[in-house]
């Protein structure tokens, strides 16, 4: 046999091998409709949903108001409720008029001004109101209860002012910083960018690696001189760039279409996003290396990355109001660290101490995922 003895030298040609892998992956991204779908179309849908569709601002909750005995005083209080921008009030004389409405969910709460109200007030006693709420939706129930209390407090203060003919000793004047109109869009849109990067980093990456296992191309790659590290890196770089591209698209839309303010620096935005992609990509790699199957990989990515980013990151639900055990779990959700920082970049500006802390934690989580992924992606099958 005349062929020269081949030299097993995996270090030579490393650059070319890596470039070849990246090029291959890029062709695939561009030619595969599903990666375009996940990286660009899905983010757009999400962004439009949060930009236009979903709003956490509460306006005009429907309640029933029962005035059991009409007097100037109760009429005045009722007028206070009717004037509130938070309530849409139906008036009645008897609570029984509203019981069905409350049961059927046509109203969210029922405020009752009892017959004794005027008498108690005149006697200088503290009069009581009864508030019935539909506890099946605790958020709204809380809201009705709090705002009912606030409305009464407001009314009382005004009465005092009128009676005394002088302004109250202390008054509070509220000002909301960073988001003066309290528009939820302004913090939902930055948050949804984290969701989008989770989609690209974890879901898409786990799918494409699992696909290589399914189609047998991974096996063919592994039987070449390419090393496992090169294989992983060749996968990561294109999806890292794709994640950043997708993020950039979202930010441009957020700022120019939805008018979300952008008060921080572009550098902070990219530093945070790039770091977040580490745990996201690492998790994607780990999932695909563990499952080697597209269906399982997509399910796992949705449950272990997408849903936590949605539910346990403080994006939609306040972490402080979660049960303690769930709060612990949120500490390992990378989006938990990205979302507040991103919201800060958009609405407040650069607060580097906060950012650096987030970046450090995300890097730590990322390292754990990478170590696990690298350990399960040896150049071995089965």
């Amino acid at each position: 046999m005349s062929s020269p003895a081949p030299i097993a030298a995996p270090t030579t040609g490393r650059g070319r091998r890596f470039a070849a892998l990246v090029r291959k992956e890029s062709y695939q991204i561009v030619r595969d409709p599903s990666s375009i779908l996940i990286a660009f179309v899905l983010p757009l849908i999400l962004l439009f949903l949060f930009g236009y569709g979903v709003s956490l601002d509460t306006t005009q909750t429907r309640i029933g108001l029962v005035v059991e005995q009409e007097t100037p005083l109760t009429r005045d209080l009722a007028a206070g409720f009717q004037a509130s921008r938070y309530f849409s009030v139906s008036l009645g004389r008897d609570r029984r008029d509203f019981e069905d409405d409350l049961v059927l969910g046509r109203i969210r709460g029922l405020v009752i001004i009892p017959a004794r109200f005027e008498a108690d007030h005149a006697a200088g006693q503290h009069p009581t109101l009864q508030v019935l709420v539909d506890g099946s939706d605790p958020n709204t129930a809380n809201f009705v209860q709090n705002y009912a209390q606030a409305t009464v407090a407001n009314w009382e203060r005004q009465r005092l002012e009128q009676d005394a003919g002088r302004p109250p000793a202390i008054s509070t004047e509220q000002r909301f910083w960073f988001n003066p109109e309290l528009t939820s869009r302004n913090f939902l849109v930055p948050g949804s960018i984290a969701i989008v990067m989770t989609l690209v980093g974890t879901l898409l990456t786990s799918l494409v690696v699992a696909r290589e296992w399914e189609r047998g191309t991974m096996e063919a790659m592994m039987a070449t001189p390419v090393s496992a590290a090169e294989l992983l890196a060749g996968k990561l770089l294109p999806y890292f760039l794709l994640g950043l591209t997708s993020m950039t698209l979202c930010v441009l839309l957020a700022v120019f279409l939805f008018g979300v303010p952008f008060r921080g620096s572009v550098a902070a935005l990219y530093a945070l996003s790039a770091t977040f992609l580490m745990p996201a990509l690492g998790q994607g790699l780990l999932i695909s290396a563990a499952t080697k199957n597209q269906f399982l990989a997509s399910q796992l990515a949705l449950i272990s990355a997408f849903l936590p980013a949605f539910l346990l990151s403080g994006f939609l639900f306040e972490i402080n109001s979660m049960p303690t055990v769930i709060q612990w779990i949120t500490f390992i959700v990378p989006a938990r660290y990205l979302i507040p920082s991103l919201q800060t970049v958009f609405l407040a500006g650069d607060i580097w101490p906060m950012f650096l802390q987030s970046i450090a934690v995300m890097l730590l989580i990322g390292c754990v995922f990478f170590v696990l992924a690298a350990r399960s992606t040896r150049k071995r099958i089965g």
């Binding site: 046999m1 097993a8 070849a20 291959k24 047998g216 191309t217 071995r380 089965g382």
Partner: protein, 578 residues
């Protein structure tokens, strides 16, 4: 050329989970400059053994040395000097032919200076020059396989590992590929070619024959076939019901194996035994047994201790269908199916009289399954009509379906249901209930010996048992017509024999069978076959007729594969002329 083997396998054991090991104490050698066949049915351990040679998998016991490297210690050394084509060719479907080549050239470190020449040579060799800009996903099976080979051959490997390269490829491409690989061995490359086709095994320089993880034989195929030399007979001139005759032969002492071969019966006799005489119904013709060259499969069966008897309990329990009207049971008239601008089946016409086996023979993607599905009412034809037991599939699809039993490719059973649950489910689907349901399922359990396996999940059954269960499910309702889609693909030859014994028995009782296959020798079990190629039926007739059509001075006794290739070429010439 040195005599040092390229691969040395010593005492290799590989287990996956509990149960019997996938490879059980395998020893073997693979030499340079020749094609070594890794032969065995599905699940024999072929792929596992190849993966062990690539260093992608490690043995639990024993060791594998490849080109002087231990796979456990230096897989990188091996991977730098082998070419490996996994089962699905390892190509990126959304990359073009050229891009796939570039990728593998970069990964294998082919120097830029050598590329033009190497690409030229390989594209010439594989005849892919015209297609360099086409996406690999848009290539035909045969072209994909050639591209896979080209990618494995970049930077000339010393050892080429091919995992089932012949699967799903038309015989012409398969022959092309074989020639290419033969040329490579001339330059000293060692080739491992794994296959479940025993006719491919015959052509190898050496074989390792595996069955259920055990090595049955290592050596030259002629050595194995030599063991049954002078013991294989072709009984020709059998008139009348040759399947019944075969069944009787198989039950006789001294008969190791027997199959229908066109109009003759092929028998393997025990050493020293003489072939039984066939009854003569036609005074003019006397059945004659002549010695015929042995095939690999004859020797394989002989080695496994012979095939099963000719007795089918399933057929015994079958009520006979009388042939009253003389009308065909399955009819296809101008069946055509178009998907967009692609015609998957074009004007297919044939009919099958009661109690006959009709075969659709052709490579994957030729249109067999499409034709098949139109006739079971699973696919609506774009034009033409099909009838089963006299019922038009367009108007009375449900009536027609009640009269046919369907055994799908890969034995589509419910993997997560147990054997008993599968039987009950299919009985329910076919409308059996009460006493009859109990009776029929009980009968299947007895006939196929499912007794101890009733609680087992279908997916955990070995391939042969899966096939039995699929057959049981298809015949529960005693159908008049049986549709078998690649019924013996990948199963071991004993299971295949057993399967055909049942089918032959049922046919004797008047059941009509339509079978698709890409096994050339299986086609010879049929009464008539239609060769399907690129959506069209290019020839129709009995296997012997078709072979006679192509016999000439150069090839007086063509095989079914020879006939297929010659007929495809003739049809292409006719088309070119038209």
């Amino acid at each position: 050329m040195t005599d040092e083997p390229f691969v040395r396998i010593s005492g290799v054991v590989k287990r996956f989970g509990k149960g019997a090991p996938a490879l059980d104490h395998i020893d073997g050698e693979i030499l340079g400059g020749r094609i070594t066949g890794l032969v065995g049915p599905d699940g024999a351990g072929k792929t596992t053994l190849i993966r062990l040679m690539t260093g992608l998998m490690l043995p639990d016991e024993g060791k594998v040395d490849v080109l002087g490297f231990d796979t456990a210690k230096d897989p990188a050394g091996i991977q730098a000097s082998i070419g490996y084509m996994p089962q699905r060719f390892g190509l990126y479907e959304d990359l073009s032919v050229q891009e796939n080549l570039d990728l593998y050239a970069d990964l294998r470190g082919l120097p830029l200076a050598e590329r033009t020449a190497t690409y030229d040579e390989l594209l010439e060799f594989t005849d892919l020059k015209r297609f360099t800009s086409r996406l690999a996903g848009k290539l035909s099976g045969g072209m994909k396989q050639k591209l896979g080979l080209a990618c494995a051959l970049l930077r000339k490997p010393r050892l080429l590992l091919l995992d089932e390269p012949g699967v799903g490829v038309d015989p012409i491409s398969r022959r092309d590929l074989w020639k290419m690989v033969e040329n490579l061995t001339a330059s000293g490359i060692g080739v491992v070619w794994s296959t479940a086709y025993l006719d491919e095994a015959e052509a190898c320089d050496g074989v390792l024959l595996l069955n259920e993880g055990k090595l049955l034989f290592a050596g030259a195929p002629s050595e194995l076939t030599g063991r049954v030399a002078d013991r294989v007979f072709k009984v020709s001139g059998v008139t009348g019901r040759r399947r019944e005759t075969l069944a009787r032969f198989l039950d006789k002492d001294g008969v190791v194996d027997g199959v229908i071969q066109g109009e003759a019966i092929r028998l393997v006799m025990a050493p020293g035994a003489t072939p039984p005489s066939a009854p003569s119904e036609n005074a003019g013709v006397t059945p004659q047994a002549t010695v015929t060259p042995p095939r690999f499969e004859d020797a394989f069966i002989d080695m496994l201790g012979g095939g099963p008897g000719g007795h089918s309990k399933l057929a015994e329990a079958q009520k006979p269908f009388a042939n009253e009207s003389g009308k065909p049971v399955i009819e296809a008239h101008g069946l055509t199916k178009r998907f967009g601008d692609f015609t998957a089946a074009d004007d297919i016409t044939f009919d099958i009289p009661r109690g006959q086996i009709f075969g659709l023979l052709g490579p994957n993607g030729a249109g067999k399954s499409t034709t098949f599905k139109m006739l079971c009412g699973l696919l609506k034809p774009s034009a033409g009509e099909g009838r089963v037991a006299g019922f038009d599939l367009r108007r009375d699809a449900a009536e027609a379906r009640n009269r046919l039993g369907y055994m799908a490719q890969k034995f589509s059973l419910y993997g997560d249901l147990s054997v008993a649950q599968n039987l009950n489910f299919f009985a329910g689907v076919y409308g059996l209930s009460g006493e009859r349901k109990k009776e029929r399922t009980q009968l299947m359990v007895e006939i196929f010996g499912f007794g101890r396996l009733l609680a087992m999940s279908a997916k955990d059954l070995p391939l042969g048992l899966k096939q039995r269960l699929a057959l049981a499910c298809a015949v529960l309702h005693e159908p008049e017509a049986l549709f078998l889609d690649e019924p013996t693909s990948g199963v071991d030859p004993i299971t295949r024999r057993e399967f055909w014994t049942h089918i032959n028995g049922l046919v004797e009782k008047g059941v009509t069978v339509l079978v698709t296959t890409h096994f050339m020798d299986e086609a010879e079990y049929c009464d008539r076959i239609s060769l399907i190629y690129r959506g069209r039926s290019i020839a129709l007739g009995s296997p012997d007729d078709l072979k006679k059509q192509v016999a000439d001075a150069a090839c007086p006794d063509p095989t079914m594969e020879d006939a297929f290739i010659a007929l495809v070429q003739r049809s292409e010439e006719r088309q070119a002329a038209a």
